[in-house]
Symmetry: C2
Subunit: 653 residues, 2 copies
């Protein structure tokens, strides 16, 4: 018999994410964000989902569930369905965020709201287990006829994730049962009845693996494996699907195999292609399945795809999917700064993928990238006040061009309040609320600290400890062991060439493997201190990346810095950095941008040297170099002080 709310992990060999119950944030960087999610983001997004937020794009998602319930009850559906074909997922992601946040911040009223919404979801489920408001309201006959665009499996996946989370933190299993029935419905169709097809937008695979661990239902595992194994085997599946139906959502091109990662079986795929969120959600499911089933071949495919993403197609900010065309990966080294897409959701998905790779093999590269994506692109996705969001995260913004001209229409210079396609805002909320899962891991003998998050952790293996740190603004992390008896492994990031590990004030004896320091066994009362090198430094891009030749950026720990007009006389274009100059970290300012430190660096202001007006834009004389000080702030804080120029990469001399 399973204990309610406890999720059993089978086949886990290396280490796994901790339970949401295990981590409580305390004072520090993360606590601030989790509190913001609780106090602002969740309530704000709820008003949006209820269509009560003023001046904000209508969501209608809750009404869609109500109307779907009416449709099933044979009642009038009122104003019917409104929104994107994947609108259901907005509620699912919000519910998932609520589930996580309730663990840390119990709130009877919020929980009741969630319970009531779950009742609506249950009522919107058909008797055969089918659940999707778009098709239930608009046309039941069209169910499952458009996997390419219909997002039914995507929406199911997100509701499964919400169900698992809500079960995990509240112990309530109503939504879990709803989604288990839904999973059985899908299993029957695609496995039992052998109906061909695979998800247009991967997501259900990773969700089914969560379901499997929560419900213990092997059909969920088999179904996840089925979708991963059949993907791309019949590369022409979507073309046949289109030929068999007389309707479309947008009319996606079924032959764009790269876009939907369907050109060949996933085990044979070596380059990250197509829609970047679809890609990393797929890879997450693949990595998860590989660890769950001990599938070395699948893991090797994941490693190849990881390298493709991280070593050849990723921005320094952990942003991925460089092109607005298809929200997609393009080719190696194509990383334009001003037209970058770098969707917030894609970097969240990259964190998922990294976290699942860590469950296959504990290597710091995965955690380094997970942290990089988090502290830069994911956090930049949200205004510091929690009420505005970026979908797109460019590395260069010029007011008057960005968000204005057609080629730059997607690179907005300021965060909007909401989007018609509102995938990113609730995705940020659920990620922030469940950060502990990504920061900490465990197995029977050992606990793992992948990222540094102040708070208490009560591991399932019995270890208990408190982490104290002002990271990412302080580079000392202290682990106070409350209940020991197991080992502890802590990542030392690649950026920190030097580090010190102390145990009870003395240099600790440790083993270093793949970027983690391992202490075999710690005892109650032990205090472990990791001192990292948080020196700010320049970073250079491989010359294969055309967009960044001759340029440098500044990093400190995981934080990428950027130069904004407001700190630099409204002109960052004419700045030049001097690669030998000293980078100074200014004092922490609690009132600045949610609490941050500016960085200053000696620089040159390049002044056009016109011979005559006739020269126009092109001058024979080199620009005059005027010494100045350039000021940078962390990338995640950009765009919080009005519209202004912003650049991450600056030319250097």
């Amino acid at each position: 018999m399973r204990k309610k709310g406890i999720i059993v992990r089978k086949g886990m060999k290396i280490q796994k994410q901790i339970s949401q119950k295990a981590y409580r944030s305390t004072d520090g960087f993360l606590r601030h964000y989790q509190q913001l999610v609780k106090d602002v983001v969740i309530p704000y997004q709820y008003t949006v989902l209820q269509d009560k937020a003023e001046g904000v794009e209508k969501s209608h998602v809750i009404q869609n569930f109500i109307n779907a319930g009416k449709a099933l009850a044979g009642q009038d559906v009122g104003d019917g369905f409104y929104g994107m074909v994947f609108q259901d997922s907005d509620l699912a992601k919000w519910l998932e965020a609520v589930a996580y946040i309730l663990e840390q911040f119990p709130d009877a009223e919020l929980e009741q709201t969630a319970d009531e919404l779950i009742d609506l979801v249950e009522k919107a489920q058909d008797s055969d287990g089918y659940l999707n408001t778009y098709f239930t309201i608009k046309d039941k006959e069209k169910r499952w006829t458009n996997l390419l665009e219909g997002h039914e499996l995507y929406c199911s996946g997100h509701m499964m994730e919400a169900a698992v989370a809500y079960y995990e933190t509240t112990g309530k299993d109503k939504l879990l049962r709803v989604m288990e029935r839904n999973a059985e419905h899908i299993y029957k169709r695609f496995v039992t009845e052998k109906t061909p097809g695979y998800p247009g937008h991967p997501e259900v695979e990773l969700a089914l693996l969560k379901m499997y661990r929560a419900c213990g239902n092997r059909h969920c595992l088999e179904l996840a494996k089925h979708f991963i194994d059949v993907r791309g085997v019949d590369a022409n599946y979507y073309e046949k699907e289109i030929a068999a139906r007389d309707w479309v959502v947008w009319g996606n091109d079924a032959t764009n195999y790269e876009y939907q990662q369907s050109g060949k079986p996933v085990r044979e795929q070596k380059d990250a292609t197509g829609h970047s969120v679809r890609a990393v959600y797929l890879y997450t499911g693949m990595a998860d399945l590989a660890s769950e089933t001990d599938d070395e071949e699948l893991l090797q495919a994941c490693r190849n795809l990881w390298k493709s993403v991280v070593h050849r197609r990723m921005y320094v900010t952990g942003g991925i999917g460089s092109s607005v065309e298809g929200e997609a990966f393009t080719v190696d080294y194509d990383l334009p700064n001003d037209t970058a897409y770098a969707e917030t959701c894609a970097s969240i998905g990259l964190m998922f993928f990294a976290s699942r790779m860590l469950e296959n093999e504990v290597k710091r590269e995965y955690a380094d990238i997970m942290e990089l994506a988090f502290y830069n692109t994911v956090l930049a996705g949200m205004q510091l006040d929690g009420k505005r969001f970026f979908y797109v995260n460019p590395l260069e913004v010029l007011p008057g061009t960005s968000g204005v001209i057609k080629t730059h229409r997607h690179t907005l210079p300021a965060r909007p309040t909401w989007y018609a396609c509102a995938c990113c805002p609730p995705n940020v909320a659920r990620l922030l609320a469940s950060f502990g899962k990504y920061a900490y891991g465990e197995n029977e003998d050992m606990v793992f600290c992948h990222m540094y998050a102040a708070g208490t952790v009560a591991f399932e293996n019995g270890m208990e400890m408190e982490c104290k740190t002002g990271y990412p603004y302080e580079y000392q992390v202290t682990y106070e062991i409350k209940h020991g008896g197991k080992g502890i492994a802590v990542r030392v990031p690649a950026y920190s060439k030097e580090f010190t590990l102390l145990k009870n004030g003395k240099e600790a004896k440790y083993e270093m493997r793949d970027g983690y320091v391992y202490l075999e066994e710690v005892q109650d009362g032990d205090v472990i201190v990791l001192k990292l090198d948080g020196t700010a430094h320049f970073v250079y891009t491989s010359s294969k990346v055309a967009a960044n030749t001759g340029m440098t950026a500044i990093k400190r720990g995981p934080l990428v810095y950027c130069f904004e007009g407001v700190d630099n006389a409204e002109d960052v274009l004419s700045l030049r950095l001097k690669k030998d100059s000293k980078i100074e970290i200014r004092d922490f300012e609690a009132a600045l941008l949610g609490g941050t430190e500016k960085i200053t660096v000696e620089a040159l202001r390049m002044q056009d040297a016109h011979d005559s007006e006739e020269e126009g834009l092109y001058m024979i004389k080199p620009p005059v170099e005027i010494p100045c000080t350039a000021t940078a702030v962390p990338y995640y804080t950009w765009g919080n002080r009005g519209e202004n120029q912003m650049r991450v990469w600056i030319n250097y001399i």
Copy 2:
């Protein structure tokens, strides 16, 4: 009574283009190109127009005229119309090129071909003067109902230009009469009957002014003035037009006022906007009308638009219209190199505009830009063999990215043989064939040398001279006065800070005004020598242009140089130039790229300095600087040695 073939210029005050009869190219750079137009381009394009070129996009333009003639004669139209709605203009531009080339290279067979084609054009003209094969074949009822997209006035304009040219060089006026009837047809509709509307694609304005000078028909002048004056006065005209019809060509957005330069009256327009070819064709007509009618207000508008184009929206290569979206201007300083559009036709149009501005005021800036556009973007538009053409002229090309990924689908790394929209190839041909008109000008008292073109010139004012020069590879220009008695004005380009002017071997006494040296009167046998500074030098972009910060390019005279992979170890991205290093011009190689000189310069090869593979694309160590020699070739020659990397702008240290 007018003498056949002589075009009378009224109201000319400053100076005007010479007649096509006046200039004969002799040995030199231009002669080579004109010979190529005669020997290769015109015959090749004729096979294309006849649909006889293998592996080339079908044109069908001649057949369209045949079929239109049949339609008017009540006969079966066979295979009907094929091609773009503006397909007629391809034949018109070819005929115009033929007309020009026949002057220098008499060819009875070619002239007979042209005569026969003109017979076809005449047969395709309706009894009321209407001429357009698309509407005549497809649906006569739709005539004049879609000025926004229909290109009837555009096609008329190009055929008028051909008519004037053919009349000018052959004295034959059949096509001129056809087009005068066509002009009267248009005049009746838009002036006499006061039908609202103005051209979707400006062109007819500048053509009507040519017609006016060739025919002496004031209706042509009035009609040109009418179209210029009404443009944008009723900014909503196209919306009304759409509301009144039930068909579209592409469904262009009528409210995109900037695209069609129709948001406000042209005299009030200050920024160059929208489709760049439409824009410069319009401005050419405006400038021409301003000089013809002594309209200072219109001239001031032209000056404003000139500055907008040249000082804020032009590439160093004279390319304009930076965006593929609408083939258009965007905003000030938005000049991306890798996604540049910079259509060949737009730079040809910029030369037209410059030449007409010179007819308003002799200032070297106009001639400098005319020359810049010619020697770089216009010439780059054609393969050195005369058989392949670029529509788009990027300043950075990376095989595997350029022409491949969606955002770069237009920046092809190699010239195609032809285009479905084939505006550029015949446009290059007619420009090259009539180069003398742009190079030389005259008024009653003076001859003007705007550009340096070896050859003999017999001016209408009686002056005769021969120009000898190896320009743009030699920077000495000699004018041997065969028949004097008038003054001569020669431009000294802005790039040549120093120069020497000799008259019969001694320093000449001259007056310098607006960048031209004026010699009041020269006599038979005088030899004028202008020695320019052709030193190769670096050029820097204003820091307002984000794409070029930290970069430099190399120019020599009007020639912009570029770095290609084939000369630089297949890697131009890792090159860095040193701004203080010496630029060396290598010996002229007749066998290299149609005869050119390479430039070499001390440079650095930046080698990625990885700490470990984990770093991926982003490294903490600065790249290692390895001294090397970088080699550049003139931009107009790029892409003639296979697909490879190309960059104009290179980072400097």
